[in-house]
Amino acid sequence: MPPEVALAIFLLPFLSFVVIAFVIRPFLNNRPQLSGYVTIASIGISLLLSLWVLVEVIKSPGHELSMPDYQWLAIGDTAIHIGVTLDALAAVMLIVVTSVSLLVQVYSQGYMRGDPGYPRYFAFMSLFTCSMLGLVLADNLLFLYLFWEGVGLCSYLLIGFWFHKPEAARAATKAFVVTRLGDFGFLAAILFLYAKTGTFDIAELYVLAPALLSATALTWAAIGVFSGAVGKSAQFPLHTWLPDAMEGPTPVSALIHAATMVAAGVYLVARMFPVFASSTEAITTVAIIGGFTAIFAASMGLVMNDIKRVLAYSTISQLGYMMLGLGAVGVAVAGGVLEPEHGLMLGVAVGIFHLFNHAFFKALLFLGAGSVNHATGTFDMREMGGLRKAMPWTYLTFLIASLSIAGIWPLSGFWSKEGILAHAWESTPILFYLAMITVFMTAFYMFRVVFLTFGGEYRGQSEGSHGLHESPLVMIAPMVLLAILSVVSGWLPISELLGGESHSFFGALASPLAWASLILAGLGILLAYAIYSKKWLSAESLRQRFAPLYTLFSRKYWLDELYESVFVVRILIDGLFAAFHWFDDRVVDGVVNGVAGGTVAAGRGIRRAQTGQLQAYGLAIFIGILVIVACLFIFD
């Protein structure tokens, strides 16, 4: 395979961005549908090329292709190379990104029809896909970080796509700022690792970082990297941006939640797994944050009324599972229970296998939510109900995805979730129990959505149920494809390819663990059925019985309020920025305004104002000199 293929995979979407932004949008604005076609064509070819890469990777010994790299920069003695990694991990991620992205773009043609920003939408989507592909292919931390920021920027643009809506603009800013908090740590860790090892190259860091860094330093470096992943993958405590990010168009949510953006964090931990697994403290942190986030987010998903919010918390929870999977195996490796040779690949396989399966069913769930919204014009489940008659295809595909995420045999979610649970059981029992409770919660909240949305009678006020209609074929077709993938993706030998365990189709049912989780999931579905379909139990009375818990969950543990009132607004903006603003406004300009306001004659006023201001400026020079001198003599 020529090395240009790898470059083409990520350059094609970029080309599509360039063509839309510089040709179609300025010159062919009257034919916006062209931008959709260009995007679909470029990502479609990328998908085909990714499949080619996958086949080559499978055929190659060690499942890794060596690619030439080019020197790009030399700083002092160290050179930075541009290179491409093509191993099983990258190949699997390429497939996830291009396939989900392609289906989302096809769906978007229906969903975004008639939107005035149609070409802009596809331009951003192309760039978003391109950044994520670049992130996956990068073989050094510097480039990985560049594309990492590119993904962040595109998500900002897309979440705020309907920027005229204040909530959308706010959500976009929130996503940008909150993920940036994590990126501080990531960037600091990159620079720190570079300072200590003199390389950005990831493969070299596997060896050099554990060799050259002290145990404490390695832990902090790994935790710094992890903080970037926490922000991007919306793990506790930086998860607050993801539920708000639904303000963007729904296909964007599907892409963000499934294949790009949030997947980047998990991918980063997987890519840096050997570094993480060298520090018990760091990998334990990953496992704990993951396990805690899984149950924490699921608890909030139990009570949300907005269908996309339930799905958002579900994503956070599932990402927590992936982190837990990586962490649990990593803890075993760091503790010497597993041989590094086998364990390192196993950890990646466990985490990424779930990412792979999750990508399809979560994309499908979001597209289903978008389809429902297309018909009802709302995302509030209290105004839905009875949609299974009007929208049979949406109902069927959504049901399949829900069964899959609940982990019902033999759908895809079952296989990867079993892997995570089994390894958590072996190495981190407490987190295992949390994960088992989460299995129950997941099944419950997903089927709460299913019954509230599709079961019962239509409760919407705006128009009668006769106005409801199934979405057009261009939206249904991608959903059906994703539904097929949600069933079969777990049967593909992805785990084996990544170096993990293989599964036996019926043999999996022999394990007691599988039965335990299936029973828990079944109980969750049953409870949802009892409350929301048959109404044996009244949701209202349950809510009152558990009022404190309900309030805690529905107010999202008050974390949003805490962050916005205490952290971001109060301290940063209200405090520090306002102080500087006040200084500029009052001290500098105020001298002018104050003096001028009090004077009668305008001419005299301006002159005096200028004199006053100049004195202030001159005074600042002298005070500055005095302060510097004083500091020097005091600290010398």
Partner: protein, 480 residues
């Protein structure tokens, strides 16, 4: 005395005089601009002809080395871009267009001399030649704002000059010489390393030069002067004048005050941190784009000063000079970027007659290429690849990391993130905002040429920085 060494400066001075003379006879004033720009080829040619020379003349007052030649070219290119962007703007001036061009050229000559002298008195005279030309240019519009800016700049400049002279006097009093090499020798020979008076002199020099490069707390003139001055002059101040200040600081502190580098490096490091933080944080609140770029240029001076702080961290005998070379490289990248941004603003503001950021709403529809160019320059100011600003930041940060100034790099990185907010806000307004009118914003050929050059430079340096980086390294090689 080898007058040929002075050929770039002499030819530039002659050019200024020719422009003034032509002004008397020629009615079509655009010719003056054309002559000024075309005439810059002569000093540039002399500079290139002198390339590789390493000589001193005029009793050690003039030095022609790789450093001064690099800065000669730097100032000539910046001046050419400023003049190109002035041709259309100059129609705002009722009269004295010839003087405008001549003053710009004379200021450039002052800057060139600043970079090519090794003696305190000559430095002062060159500094004043630049300063006085710029004071006059700042007030050139003659409206209340411009006049106020000119007067403020003049008075505060005088204060700074006094402080600088006081510092020079202290250094001279202690060492008995005004030659930089002599000062260095005297400091070591007479045991002045721990002298409080010398320390006082150093602080006063920092303050005097700090005014030129607009570091905190000597930056207060910047927003008012930048807002009031004609926009091409604002660009000139923010790029060329600042670069001249850095060139002089490199010379004086590195050559004369090298033995006491521990004292001044920490001053520069702390001032760098404060300067970039203040510049960035206050820039967030600006609604006027020139004022915003004023604060932004204060912040950029903060990043540049990282290079000064790492100059001194070089241990004796250590290999590599990445501190000063990173600073010089950063200056070149910053110059192209900031000039590009200002040229785009000149083109837009000329037509819409406003500097308010809110009036740039939807500019991408009205002037797509200008908006794109401005966006590129703003992205470069943030330091996002593939732009010059990114490379510049990478080099200067990595130089600081190499020398162990990790805390300063962390501050700078946090600052970079803060700065993204206000730069991106402008891009957002331009590309996502609703246009205030459907009227297109045309621009002149000269502006477009200057802008294309700047943007091309920003991209080339962002992708292939090698050539310039080698030149920058050569330029600072003579520093011990």
């Amino acid at each position: 005395m080898n007058l040929y060494l002075l050929a770039p400066e002499i030819s530039l001075c002659a050019l200024a005089l020719v422009v003034i003379l032509l002004d008397l006879f020629i009615g079509r004033k655009w010719i003056l601009g054309a002559v000024s720009i075309a005439g810059l080829i002569v000093p540039a040619a002399f500079t290139i002809a002198l390339w590789g020379t390493n000589e001193t003349s005029f009793n050690g007052m003039l030095v022609v080395d790789q450093f001064s030649l690099f800065f000669n070219l730097f100032f000539l290119v910046s001046t050419a871009l400023v003049l190109l962007s002035s041709t259309e703007y100059a129609s705002k001036f009722a009269a004295f267009r010839g003087e405008y061009y001549a003053l710009v050229l004379l200021a450039a000559m002052g800057m060139m001399l600043m970079a090519s002298t090794r003696e305190l008195i000559s430095i002062y005279i060159a500094l004043e030649l630049t300063g006085i030309s710029l004071y006059a240019l700042t007030g050139f519009l003659k409206d209340p704002k411009s006049s106020e800016a000119g007067l403020k700049y003049l008075l505060l400049g005088a204060v700074a000059s006094a402080v600088l002279l006081y510092g020079m006097a202290l250094v001279f009093g202690l060492t008995g010489t005004t030659h930089l090499e002599g000062i260095k020798a005297a400091i070591s020979a007479e045991g002045l390393l721990a002298s409080p008076a010398l320390l006082m002199g150093i602080v006063l020099l920092v303050a005097g030069f700090g005014f030129k490069i607009a570091t905190v707390p000597f930056q207060m003139w910047v927003p008012d002067v930048y807002e009031g001055a004609p926009t091409p002059i604002t660009a000139y101040l923010s790029v060329a004048s600042k670069a001249a200040g850095f060139a002089v600081i490199l010379r004086v502190f590195y050559e004369a005050l090298g033995p006491v580098s521990l004292d001044w490096s920490i001053i520069f490091a702390v001032l760098a941190a404060i300067t970039m933080t203040l510049g960035n944080v206050v820039a967030i609140w600006q609604t006027n784009i020139k004022r915003m770029l004023g604060y932004s240029s204060i912040a950029q001076a903060g990043y540049l000063m990282i290079g000064l702080a790492t100059v001194s961290a070089l241990e004796p005998g250590a290999i590599g000079s990445s501190g000063p070379s990173a600073l010089v490289f950063f200056l070149a990248c910053y110059a192209l970027t900031n000039l590009g941004a200002f040229i785009a603003i000149i083109a837009i503001s000329n037509k819409i007659d406003s500097d308010e950021i809110s009036d740039y709403s939807g500019m991408a529809r009205r002037a797509p290429l200008l908006s794109l160019a401005l966006a590129l320059c703003l992205i470069s100011l943030i330091g996002i690849p593939p732009t010059a600003g990114f490379m510049a930041k990478i080099y200067i940060f990595s130089a600081a990391v190499d020398y162990g100034l990790i805390w300063l790099v962390i501050v700078a990185v946090i600052n970079t993130v803060i700065s993204a907010y206000y730069y991106l806000r402008v891009i957002r307004v331009m590309f996502l905002g609703a246009p205030l009118s459907e009227e297109r914003v045309p621009s002149s050929g000269a502006l477009r040429a200057a802008l294309s050059f700047a943007c091309l430079g920003v991209l080339v340096l962002g992708i292939y920085p090698w050539v310039l980086l080698r030149i920058a390294e050569a330029a600072v090689r003579m520093f011990p």
